[in-house]
Symmetry: C2
Subunit: 128 residues, 2 copies
DNA sequence: CGGGATCCCGTAGGATACTG
DNA sequence: CAGTATCCTACGGGATCCCG
């Protein structure tokens, strides 16, 4: 189970192909709170275009992660919510988010360190 | 903690920016087995170009997730291995991989269902 | 309001050739 | 062996306009 040699690559790929894009996890997170409308999501996700919100929601709906409910009224009203499957996905994603919250500072430190060493190396090259 | 409303979006983004790319998780998975050489990784990761393996490894090294050890011999020899930080990331990623293993069939089913309904709807349109 | 249709661009990433 | 250097293309995704 888990990150195994042979199967891991492809399985990990498959899931990242679905939720590894720019917006899916944010949509899932917000729908995890409660059912929301299109405009509500758009307002809460900073920087998303309506096109990408539509595309993202369609993809999640197709994968059975969110449900889409259309009310035939004027003006139109569409509700989105997480399916049970979507809820389990959100739980799994939490592990990564938690990891991020507790280790991102270490990554930032490692980066700064790496960049500093690199700059130093480059400086030596220019001297020679 | 976890996938929370406001912080979730950005935190989730930050981690996906680092491991959400096409190859990082596979590299991490393989280095989780043991220390490996460049060519070894290239041989085991199907479809990766040497350019992308280099780029991926550099990024992971910069983020403190893998270490790079160069032996000054001819021909060159470079070993890569997971850092402790990288090991914790691998553990976290396992949650997603496990989820994938147990739910990907549900997603495939949902997709087939969605596509079938869509084709049906389109057929009706063409009739009218 | 909740999209669909177009146009457009930046960039991730593949193929290939060269090097210490 | 383990890269680096170019070149080039596919596609994710933004901006804009239109429509029921």
């Amino acid at each position: 189970m888990g990150l195994q040699p042979h199967s891991a690559g492809c399985r990990a790929r498959e899931i990242l192909d679905r939720v590894g894009d720019k917006w899916s996890l944010q949509v899932i997170a917000l729908l995890g709170e409660r059912t929301k409308r299109f405009t509500e999501l758009k307002r809460e996700i900073d920087g998303i275009s309506q096109r990408m919100l539509t595309v993202t929601l369609r993809g999640l709906e197709r994968d059975g992660i969110v449900t889409r409910t259309v009310y035939p009224v004027m003006p139109p009203r569409v509700d989105y919510s997480l399916t049970p499957l979507g809820a389990t996905l959100m739980d799994a994603a939490n592990a990564l988010v938690s990891w991020a919250e507790s280790h991102l500072d270490q990554i930032d430190a490692a980066r700064a360190d790496y960049d500093a060493r690199l700059a130093e190396t480059d400086a030596l090259k220019r001297t020679s």
